[in-house]
């Protein structure tokens, strides 16, 4: 006997699927995959454009220009990430950079040099579309002036194959906040979408209180999430914390990406906020990129963290890396 599948339960399933796998895993429970497809098709019509399969890669916290003991390889992990993305069997449509592209100094000229080096490395990406949001190291000291010159606006939105992407800036006001002007803009931006629209927000800091004593929060993150709350398929991609993390809030899943410089400890553990020490046997341990698959009508999003793991190590020039997917 086929279990009934109403609109509400389909949406719940789809929401649960975010980052965990596909709707295929869930359909057998109901034995109603055909009905799910029919509902997805109806939702696609309501959203204006039906979601068609594509993938996105998130890169975060490359900190180009950083010099220090926890990251003696400098930009090597970032360069390796670019190579890995170019070698992906299925090329992503988009690359999203979620902030702290550079490590800053108090001198504008030095920051400009770091931006140039960042752009030189990023230019090797074969991906057609690259989008950026700033981290505090990119935009908090000068209010985003240099960032805008190099990368464009600090907040904006765009549509891609039925998914609405929103870039949120929670750093350039100097404090960890989005600010009332941007929140008003967000309300206006979302107003044209039905509640079922798949939405991906990408930003730098977590939009919830992950660990305020480590400055892992956004002061007005609750206001942002209240604006997003009516929408039933929201995914938030962020960086800042240099370690992977997943948190579910009402109608949304929040994914933190690994960094490309050094890792911070698990926020669930007590202790100091100190970079994990460099391990020369595993130089890219805990670093990596994130691949997001949008798989069309059967699933809004699937999320995979891709670690930069070491296969051989014989000095900086001899590093060989392999892809090691880790399913969240």
């Amino acid at each position: 006997m086929t279990a009934p599948l109403d609109r509400r339960s389909f949406l719940k399933i789809a929401g649960m699927s975010l980052g965990m796998g596909t709707l295929y895993e869930i359909a057998p429970f109901h034995g109603a995959r055909g009905e799910a497809r029919e509902l997805a098709s109806q939702l696609g019509k309501a959203n204006g454009e039906q979601v068609t399969p594509f993938s996105v890669v998130q890169i975060s916290d490359s900190h180009v220009g950083f010099k220090g003991a926890p990251a003696p390889l400098g930009t090597r992990a970032f360069e390796r990430a670019v190579e890995m993305i170019n070698q992906l069997p299925r090329q992503p449509d988009l690359v999203l950079f979620t902030g702290d592209l550079i490590d800053d100094s108090e001198y504008s000229d030095v920051n400009k040099q770091h931006i140039k080096l960042f752009q030189k490395i990023a230019r090797d990406l074969k991906v057609g579309k690259i989008q950026y949001v700033p981290g505090e190291h990119d935009a908090a000291l000068d209010g985003g002036t240099l960032f805008r010159e190099a990368f464009g606006e600090t907040h904006y939105s765009f549509d891609h194959r039925g998914v609405h992407f929103i870039a949120l800036d929670n750093v350039s006001r100097g404090r960890p906040e989005v600010g009332p002007t941007q929140i008003a803009w967000l309300k206006q931006d979302l107003s044209r979408f039905p509640r079922t629209a798949p939405i991906v927000v990408f930003t730098h800091r977590p939009l919830f209180d992950l660990k305020p004593e480590w400055e892992w929060f956004t002061l007005d993150g609750d206001e942002v999430m209240t604006v997003l709350e009516p929408y039933q398929n929201v995914t938030v991609l962020y960086g800042h914390i240099h370690t992977e993390h997943v948190r579910e809030t009402v109608h949304a899943r929040h994914y933190a990406a690994r960094a490309l410089i050094f890792a911070f400890p698990d926020p669930a553990k007590d202790g100091e906020k100190k970079p994990l020490p460099f391990d020369k046997q595993q130089p890219f341990k805990n670093l990596g990129i994130r691949q997001v698959d949008v798989r069309g009508e059967n699933i809004p999003l699937g999320v995979t963290d891709v670690a930069l793991t070491r296969r051989e190590f014989a000095g900086i020039n001899g590093i060989q890396q392999i892809l090691k997917p880790i399913v969240v």
Partner: protein, 132 residues
């Protein structure tokens, strides 16, 4: 004659005292003035912020005892945030920001600068220890 000499001496001493007092009042920077003891019974602690530290770095309070923190900045605007103690202030240079708190729970709390002030910003924090 002795009386006149005594009057002159007293007047001279008084003048010297007034001059010294005026020098103290008009030359001591505002921050130092803010460190003067408050009204009787009021517990006041001065905290100075500068890139990328707070001085002192650790303060110890008693649970249930009201204390006023007098916050100043030596350079740029800094933040002073401890969400767990419901503290959130901005410290602007050139003025003293007063913050009165009465901690109701014991423990160790980390207060951090929440206004990005430069490359060492993430190391800028102050520990508040609340004892019984």
């Amino acid at each position: 004659m002795n009386i006149i000499r005594r009057i002159l001496l007293v007047a001279g001493a008084l003048s010297l005292f007034l001059v010294a007092f005026a020098i103290l009042v008009f030359t001591i920077p505002p921050r130092s003035r803010s460190e003067a003891p408050g009204p009787a019974g009021r517990h006041v602690i001065s905290v100075s912020a500068q890139k990328f530290s707070f001085t002192p770095a650790v303060i110890t309070l008693k649970k249930g005892e009201e204390v006023t923190l007098q916050l100043t900045s030596e350079d740029v605007t800094h933040g002073f945030l401890a969400k767990s103690l419901k503290i959130g202030e901005q410290i602007q240079p050139g003025r003293t920001t007063e913050l009165t708190i009465k901690p109701e729970v014991t423990g160790t709390f980390r207060t951090s600068c929440d206004r990005y002030c430069g490359p060492g910003h993430s190391d800028m924090h102050l520990t508040i220890i609340v004892n019984e």
